[in-house]
């Protein structure tokens, strides 16, 4: 039986603020600007929007954004936890809302002063003891308290089991950077990277080097989701949501799922992949391009495996020979990714997924029928396959 969510929603507008290292404005202003831009891109008025959804981590209340942007009544609002894992989770919420009639048009947004404000690279901590802080207490006394350190722990084991090398990770960084060079919105616009430069960059947490790690960015991104019927009446070609899903797998921890039989795979992303392929009826061979969540280079390899572009352990081979570049098997992170465009918690990747379907990426591949977009890694996560709206 096919899912009622299949082809039941489309992304019809995208919007973003400039990506900077010091915005000089509030996160609420960033949120308001990107939401307003996405609504305008869709050719809608703020009062046409009746749903808002964002990350639990986002500091911008839906009602504050609604008031600032001039969105009137809201009939749907929701939040998704677990950091960047929420990236496609917010689209999933919006798709369910418009498919069920809970809302007519929903804006999914994320805005943060990720460099000038709270920096995730600076580790965890806080004042009130929650189950979350009890969780981090298993790691903080040992000093293992930054995203890089947690991902490095998985990476070391993965490299040990499958023979992946730091130069394989460098291939991801270099391929992604090539895309950023052509993207005026990217932090690394016009600044290429070589394997040698990657290898010469300092260790942050061994085995991960500086250029294995993403940006820290001030900025916001938003997308508008509505039904295919309404989407056909709007200005932009809609990006149809063919399959979309969230997943948390057995024995899941937030960034520290170290206690499973194997830590060299991503069971939660496997579960996303099974769902989005089943819902869409598509297979890896049908995917023409991808926006793969890249907070770190190594997590790209694991997702290529989870989504069946190669076998488990073969991600290191797949990323060679320009396979991730335009003209390669799977043009990936054509905006420059979070490694080289900006770190907006994966939501800038949704916008790029939509541009790929519209044919307007600054690194546009010729074939663009289906685009995979994924959420954060190491946490309960999400993903989707976008296609063209008839």
């Amino acid at each position: 039986m096919s899912s009622p969510l299949k082809d039941a929603a489309a992304i019809v507008g995208i919007g973003a603020t400039p990506f900077t290292k010091n915005s000089g404005v509030s996160e609420l202003q960033l949120a308001s600007e990107c939401v307003a831009a996405a609504i305008a891109d869709a050719g809608l008025a703020p009062t046409d929007v009746d749903g808002l959804v964002t990350f639990s981590l986002d500091t911008n209340d839906e009602i504050e954004v609604a008031r600032a942007v001039g969105i009137g009544d809201l009939t749907f609002f929701s939040r998704i936890p677990y950091g960047g894992g929420a990236a496609i989770g917010i689209v999933h919420q919006a798709a369910m809302a418009v498919a069920t009639g809970s809302a007519r048009a929903v804006v999914a947004y994320r805005a943060l002063n990720g460099r000038s404000g709270q920096r995730y690279s600076q580790g965890v901590g806080g004042d009130i003891v929650t189950s979350d802080l009890i969780h981090w207490s298993w790691y903080m006394p040992s000093g293992l308290m930054t995203p890089t350190s947690w991902v490095a722990m998985f990476t070391q084991r993965y490299m040990h089991e499958y023979g992946a090398k730091s130069t394989d990770l460098a291939q991801v960084a270099v391929s992604t950077r090539k895309h950023a060079v052509n993207n005026p919105a990217a932090f690394f616009h016009g600044r290429p990277l070589t394997i040698e430069e990657h290898q010469a960059s300092r260790f942050i947490v061994e085995p991960l080097r500086l250029y294995d790690c993403c940006q820290e960015t001030d900025g916001g991104c938003a997308v508008v989701i509505t039904t295919p019927e309404r989407a056909r009446d709007l200005e932009q070609p809609g990006a149809l949501i063919r399959g979309v899903a969230q997943a948390s797998a057995a024995d899941q921890e937030q960034m520290t799922s170290f206690y499973r039989p194997s830590i060299a795979t991503l069971p939660e992303m496997d579960l996303v992949a099974r769902q989005v392929y089943a819902m869409s009826g598509l297979s890896p061979d049908d995917i023409d391009a991808a926006v793969i969540y890249d907070a770190f280079t190594s997590i790209v390899l694991w997702q290529l495996e989870a989504f069946g572009f190669c076998s488990v352990g073969e991600g290191k081979d797949f990323v060679q020979d320009g396979n991730l570049e335009v003209g390669g098997r799977l043009p990936t992170n054509t905006h420059g990714g979070q490694l080289s465009e900006a770190y907006i918690h994966g939501v800038n990747g949704i916008a790029e997924g939509v541009r790929l379907i519209r044919g307007t990426s600054t690194n546009q591949p010729a074939k663009n029928d289906h685009v995979l977009v994924t959420g954060g890694v190491g946490v309960p996560t999400s993903g989707m396959i976008l296609g063209k709206l008839d």
Binding site: G126, V129, W138, G143, L144, M153
Partner: protein, 324 residues
């Protein structure tokens, strides 16, 4: 440790009896608002505003005469050094409330918040009194400092005519300190060394750290099905039992994965810092540090042994060394 549930309920009902009540009769200022005190305050605060200390300029200002800095509000009613003298019996209901909490182990106090509002400028000659009411007492909260209660008081300041001239909301946390209080240091003691981030203790993990403090490495065990569990949790995921105990690990294991941390560097840790995911011979894994081994000599599969060590002045941590 926190109180058993019954004792806690009794304590909390006693605490709630203080809410809404004045802590005693209004306090009366020892002196009227006066120019020498204002001048000393302005000297100490570095506030050179002429309306506070220059009679001629003040006369020409909108105030038409000298006024006191609004933030001096509380200074006019403070009892002086007497307030810091320890007495056996509480002098007012606020002290009685604090003593009640101290007697139950909530021995430490820290001011966390103060807000003031002002109805008018005070002038030399004004005579102040202040009445303080316990506005609210929170539920028990677990904070980074320790488990405790937030106490909010509201003080209303009145002049010689009984008119309100200002108010102050003050919040303190009365808490069980996470760590034993620092012993008084001698005059030549070195400045405190930065320390590692402590584990925050709650109902589901404090027992584990207590056993570590006694020099052993525990592993949670389900009495329902025998499963060993790490990190500990409040219910066994295999059989849903809440009947949980622990075993003491043999301390033997091997490195399952590891990282060498360089950036960012946190105070209290030495870098490069090796964190290892160790698989114990009992089958559970845990994250800790590897010591007594150069970072370049660490490899997956390295046999290691636990040592519960004092890693700084107060923190005991199970760390691992190469087994050979």
């Amino acid at each position: 440790m926190t109180l058993p549930a019954k004792q806690k309920r009794e304590l909390e009902s006693k605490l709630q009896a203080y809410v809404g009540k004045p802590i005693g009769p209004p306090q009366v200022g020892r002196d009227p608002v006066n120019v020498p005190m204002i001048r000393q305050w302005c000297d100490a605060m570095g506030d050179g505003h002429p309306a506070y200390t220059d009679p001629v300029a003040a006369e020409r200002s909108v105030h038409r005469g000298l006024v006191a800095p609004p933030t001096m509000l509380q200074a006019w009613i403070l009892p002086g050094f007497e307030m810091s003298v320890e007495t056996e019996a509480p002098r007012d209901e606020q002290q009685a409330l604090h003593k009640l909490l101290s007697d139950h182990g909530y021995t430490s106090v820290v001011a966390t918040n103060c807000e003031q509002g002002y109805a008018r400028y005070l002038r030399p000659g004004d005579e102040l009194s202040a009445e303080t009411v316990v506005e609210s007492i929170s539920e028990e909260k677990a904070t980074a400092l320790g488990i405790g209660y937030f106490i909010d008081t509201l003080t209303t300041f009145r002049d010689q005519n009984g008119d309100e001239v200002g108010w102050m909301k003050f919040r303190v946390l009365k808490f069980i300190p996470q760590q034993p209080a620092q012993t008084a240091s001698s005059a030549d003691a070195a400045p405190a060394k930065p320390q590692r981030i402590r584990p925050l203790l709650g109902h589901d993990n404090a027992w584990w750290w207590e056993i570590v403090n006694q020099g052993q490495l525990p592993i949670q065990k389900c009495n329902g099905c025998g499963a060993l569990l790490h990190p500990p949790r409040p219910m066994c995921g295999h059989c849903q039992s809440t009947d949980l105990s622990h075993v003491i690990a043999s301390g033997k294991g091997e490195v399952y994965s590891f990282v060498v941390m360089h950036h960012p560097q946190f105070p209290g840790y030495e870098y490069p810092l090796v964190a290892a995911l160790v698989e114990l011979e009992e089958g559970t894994r845990l994250v800790s540090n590897l010591v007594g081994c150069a970072p370049e000599d660490v490899h997956i599969g390295l046999p290691v042994r636990v040592c519960v060590e004092r890693v700084d002045d107060e923190l005991m941590l199970p760390v691992f060394r190469p087994a050979s």
